[in-house]
Structures are given as structure tokens and as C-alpha cells.
């Protein structure tokens, strides 16, 4: 197939991939405009925000692609991650305040973020085994609708539960690493932001490697293509689905934890990240993991452009408009959806 397409004239190739071409040109224009107006600082800002959205959206895409769950409690995993990081980091910070230790202060935030990731993974296992596994055994009829309603329910329970147990207070930190901002190309970036970006890229990279190169990762991809077929060649569906859900939850918790300096932990903190992650996933194509990574950066471009050229309060408007346009013109997303289960059901 690849051979065929390279021999075909350029015009017809452009025509076949029209949504991708249009969005690439559009993104390029935005990129240049942001650079001219805001300089390096805004470009870095965009890339870093894009990395965050990508990490969140990859989890959503994975859960949708493998399990056909439209996950609307993803923001609550973000919230839990933020809380766990807060409650592990602040005691460590207090200890280090009285007993200064350079090495420990460098490593403590990473410990908090890792703890949040582990907590997220455990939360994912509990939710999957307690809620989705029984539903799967009971009936697969109207799965997407049922799963959607369940995730909305989970989201309510978790955010109100947090409100009940921890109260509506904002719990945040000003920074993880108490060091000066780094100068890159004339722009000052805080170390927290750079490391948050690095964490999201490393996590996505690790996930990529896991899905492509390991036995279990390959089993996950087989399940995403055909559940029944995968089970018949000896893949344990229950294990794969629990693992996938737990991975996605862990990724959301990691991003919640690594962004604690930006989003303070409070019961409904997950809303904004959730909506951005959904913008990304709908634009890129449901269940398309690679698309979700690129989509994260496109949404970040739109966001920065709106903040620069329109007004901060319009930040969510432009992504929504673009999302609606994409759905009108290319209903399966810019990069297309490879999810088979949806059409089947």
C-alpha cells in the first residue's frame, strides 16, 4: 500500500488526507503567528501545555480503543493524583525545611509524583474490578452508553467523596523544585514546567515502547483490534482490560501530580483537564493513541493563540469551534479512528 501511494500524484494524496493537510497548514500558521506575537516564551509555553494534554489524552484514547469506554472520570484520576502528590510532598518538604539536604530535595518531588502514579494504578484496578468487570460479565449490550453513564457516576462519587473527606479547600504548592527559572532562547521557563513536560514525554515514550515491544503490550493491541479473536488465541481479556484501565488512570494521576504547582488540588480540579483531553481525543479520532499525542499539541496551539490574539476568557471557545468543525467535516477525527468495536455495536 505504501508503495502505491508514493507513486500516486501529489494532488490525489493531498485529497485523500485532506483533514490532516488542512490542520497541518492551520497549525503552522498559528505557530508562526504565535512566534511573531509572543516570541520564544509563548512557543515553549505551547509545547509544554501540549505535552500535558497529550499525556492525558493518550490515557483516554487507550481506554476507548481497548475497552470502548468513553471515560468521563479521567479528570478525577487527575484530581486523585494531585491530592496524593500534595499529601506526600508537603510532609517531605517540611522535613527538608528543618533538615536541608540537596539530594533529597531534588528527589522528593519525583517520589511524590511516582507515588501518585502508583496510587492511580491501584485506583484503576479497583474501579475496573469493582465496576466494569461485573458489567462486562453481565451484558455487553449497549456497552458504550452503560460505560459512559458509569464513568460519569464514578466522576461524581469521587469528586464529591473528595469534598466530603477533604473539604472544598484548595491545596497547592508554589513549586516543586526551589531553583531559579532556566533561560532558553531568551525565555525564562520554570524548572517545574520543564520537568512536567519531560515526565509527560518519558511516560508517553515508555507507554509507546510497552505497547510496541513487549508481549503484554502486543496483547493489548490485539484486544483493541478484536476482543473475541484475541481471547481465542489465548489472551486473558480480563487481565488485559484491567491493566489497560489501570495504566490510563496512572497516567492521569501522574499528570495531576506533576502539574500540582499549576492546578491546585481541590475536588473538582479534574474538570478542565478532562475537557481538554476530550477535545484532543475527539479531534484526533477516538481511540487513536498516536493521534492523541499530536492532537495534544494542536489543542495547545489553539489555546495559546486564543490567549494571545483574542482573550484569555475565550480559551475554551476556539478549541470547541475547531472540534465541531472537525466533527462536521471528518466525523472520525483528523487522524481517523481505528476503533472497530463502535461500528460493530
Amino acid at each position: 500500500m505504501a508503495k502505491n501511494s508514493s507513486a500516486r500524484p501529489l494532488m490525489s494524496r493531498i485529497k485523500d488526507n485532506l483533514p490532516i493537510v488542512v490542520i497541518s497548514i492551520f497549525s503552522l500558521i498559528l505557530f508562526v503567528a504565535i512566534y511573531i506575537e509572543g516570541g520564544n516564551a509563548q512557543i515553549f509555553n505551547t509545547i509544554i501545555t501540549g505535552g500535558m494534554w497529550a499525556l492525558l489524552a493518550v490515557g483516554l484514547a487507550l481506554v476507548f480503543g481497548v475497552m470502548n469506554i468513553p471515560h468521563f472520570a479521567h479528570g478525577e484520576s487527575f484530581m486523585i493524583g494531585a491530592y496524593v502528590a500534595y499529601f506526600t510532598f508537603t510532609p517531605m518538604q517540611e522535613y527538608l525545611y528543618t533538615n536541608p539536604n540537596k539530594f533529597l530535595s531534588a528527589i522528593a518531588p519525583l517520589g511524590a509524583i511516582l507515588t501518585a502514579g502508583v496510587a492511580g494504578a491501584i485506583l484503576g484496578i479497583i474501579i475496573e474490578q469493582l465496576i466494569f468487570a461485573p458489567l462486562r460479565r453481565r451484558t455487553k449490550k449497549d456497552w458504550i452508553m452503560n460505560a459512559f453513564l458509569l464513568t460519569v457516576g464514578i466522576s461524581f462519587v469521587l469528586s464529591n467523596g473528595a469534598n466530603l473527606v477533604l473539604g472544598p479547600n484548595f491545596r497547592g504548592i508554589s513549586r516543586y523544585w526551589d531553583v531559579k527559572a532556566v533561560e532558553i532562547g531568551g525565555a525564562y521557563m520554570s524548572v517545574d514546567r520543564l520537568i512536567a513536560f519531560a515526565i509527560s514525554m518519558v511516560t508517553i515514550g515508555a507507554l509507546w515502547f510497552f505497547l510496541r515491544r513487549t508481549r503484554v503490550g502486543r496483547a493489548i493491541r490485539a484486544v483493541s483490534q478484536d476482543e473475541t479473536g484475541a481471547q481465542l488465541v489465548g489472551i486473558n481479556l480480563n487481565f488485559i482490560q484491567t491493566l489497560t484501565f489501570s495504566l490510563a488512570t496512572a497516567m492521569a494521576s501522574i499528570s495531576g501530580a506533576s502539574l500540582l504547582f499549576l492546578f491546585q488540588a481541590y475536588p473538582t480540579v479534574g474538570g478542565t483537564p478532562l475537557y481538554y483531553a476530550w477535545y484532543v481525543v475527539m479531534m484526533a479520532g477516538l481511540g487513536n493513541v498516536v493521534g492523541a499525542i499530536i492532537g495534544g499539541f494542536i489543542v495547545a496551539l489553539l489555546q495559546t493563540a486564543t490567549q494571545l490574539f483574542v482573550a484569555v476568557s475565550w480559551t475554551t471557545v476556539l478549541p470547541t469551534v475547531v472540534m465541531i468543525l472537525v466533527l462536521l467535516i471528518a466525523p472520525s477525527g483528523i487522524f481517523g479512528s481505528e476503533v472497530k468495536g463502535v461500528q460493530e455495536q
Binding site: 502486543r218 490485539a222 478484536d226 473475541t228 481471547q231 481465542l232 488465541v233 489465548g234 481505528e338 472497530k340
Partner: protein, 244 residues
């Protein structure tokens, strides 16, 4: 030795009894035919022994061991593989990769041969004659059946369940598939074939069971069964049976 022994397997969906007390004994090395009119419960019976839908009642012994209600992936590891009436390939993988998934995940004992080589060997065995790097979503129904079969074989089964493998094939292809099924049996794999086409049943089956409305109505050699008045009635209706 019996490779499969089911005792009064019953499957109910709510008030509907799709399979009613079917007892089937399959000898090792046999090709066992399972026939019956559309909707008789053949596929449901197959599904309840491979672990897709566990049986409501009854006991299943596979290879001398009780396996009632075990899940499909465990049955696969125990050596029971199947093909589907409507093939279930992984659409975005190539033909070779589809079979490799079976080689890698299908069997618990480690194969000394690399997965790649083994998958090629199986594709050769089933006479798959297109380039093996063709994506599966570009194959036609017959080709899909053939990789479905290759994938099932890749799981190293002791018992292979073929759900209407021959339906939709041309007469020429029927001969090929019949000799292929016999070739698989000669490798020591027992086979249960759900089939509609009488020529295939006469050509390959050692024993045939007929079910109608989920109940066994006849069992025996193909000739015996196909001349059984009950069976003719089930297939052709009462009046035709009298004329015959």
C-alpha cells in the same frame, strides 16, 4: 481415548433453551461432524464448550479433564482452538502478524522455533497463496477463513472446532478444504466440523451428530444419519420425507 466428552450440556438464554442435553463423545483423531438446520444450536453448543458462553447445565470433559465453564483463553491453552463462521481477524495486522499472534499467545509451552518461522510454516501448510504481508482488512471472505484457520492451528490445538469453514466456497475450493481438513487430522489433531454442505460431511466425517431445536436427533456414520427419516424430516419437512 475420548478427546471430548460432554454430558447433557444445556444452554439456556432466559426462557429459550438453545442447547438441550447434548452428549457428545469425540474419539481422538476423529473428524466429527455436527449438522442441523439453521438456528438448531450448533454454534451455541460450540460456544459453550470452548468457554465463550459457559453451559447452564451439564459437564464437559476435555482430554480427560473436567473443563466445564472455563474461559476461552484457558481452553485455548489447554489445546482447544476454533474458527468462526464469520472470521475474526485482527484487521490492522498483516496476514503473517495475525498468525504470529496465535503462535505467541496461543500455547503455553515454548516453541523452539521463532514465531516468525513457525507462522510462515503454518501459512504454507494451509496453502495461503497471497503475499503474507497483505493487511488482513484487504482479504476476501475465503482468504479470511484461511488465516482464521492458520491462527487456530498456530495455537497448537489437540482439538480444532471448525464453524462452517466450507460455507461460501466454490466446488473447486471445497476439494481443497476437504483435503486440508484431512491433512490436519493426519497430524493428530481431532476435529469437530459444523457444516451444512453434505458433500463435505460425506467426504471427511467419521461420525456425524444431527441436532434440531437444540436436541440430538441422530448420531452415527454419515450414511446412516443422512438416511435417517428423522433427519430428512428436519431438513426437508414432513411431506418430502414421506415421498423419499
Amino acid at each position: 481415548m475420548l478427546i471430548l466428552d460432554t454430558k447433557k450440556v444445556t444452554k439456556r438464554f432466559g426462557g429459550l433453551t438453545a442447547v438441550n442435553q447434548v452428549s457428545m463423545q469425540v474419539e481422538e483423531g476423529q473428524v466429527y461432524g455436527l449438522i442441523g438446520p439453521n438456528g438448531a444450536g450448533k454454534s451455541t453448543f460450540i460456544n459453550s464448550i470452548v468457554g465463550r458462553f459457559p453451559p447452564t447445565e451439564g459437564v464437559v470433559y476435555f482430554n480427560g479433564e473436567e473443563t466445564t465453564g472455563l474461559s476461552a483463553e484457558i481452553m485455548c491453552h489447554k489445546g482447544m482452538a476454533r474458527t468462526f463462521q464469520i472470521p475474526r481477524p485482527f484487521p490492522q495486522l498483516t496476514v503473517l502478524e495475525n498468525v504470529k499472534v496465535g503462535v505467541i499467545f496461543g500455547s503455553v509451552d515454548k516453541d523452539p522455533m521463532p514465531a516468525d518461522e513457525r507462522a510462515r510454516e503454518i501459512l504454507k501448510f494451509v496453502d495461503f497463496n497471497l503475499p503474507i504481508d497483505t493487511p488482513a482488512d484487504r482479504l476476501n471472505a475465503v482468504q479470511l477463513k484461511s488465516i482464521d484457520l492458520a491462527r487456530a492451528l498456530a495455537c497448537k490445538p489437540k482439538l480444532l472446532l471448525l464453524d462452517e469453514l466450507a460455507s461460501g466456497l466454490t466446488p473447486g475450493e471445497l476439494d481443497t478444504i476437504m483435503s486440508l481438513i484431512l491433512k490436519i487430522r493426519d497430524q493428530g489433531i481431532s476435529i469437530i466440523a459444523v457444516e451444512h454442505i453434505m458433500r463435505v460431511i460425506k467426504g471427511i466425517c467419521d461420525t456425524v451428530m444431527v441436532i434440531e431445536y437444540g436436541t440430538t436427533i441422530a448420531e452415527g456414520t454419515p450414511d446412516e444419519v443422512l438416511n435417517n427419516p428423522e433427519v430428512i424430516k428436519a431438513y426437508l419437512g414432513e411431506e418430502e420425507a414421506e415421498n423419499a
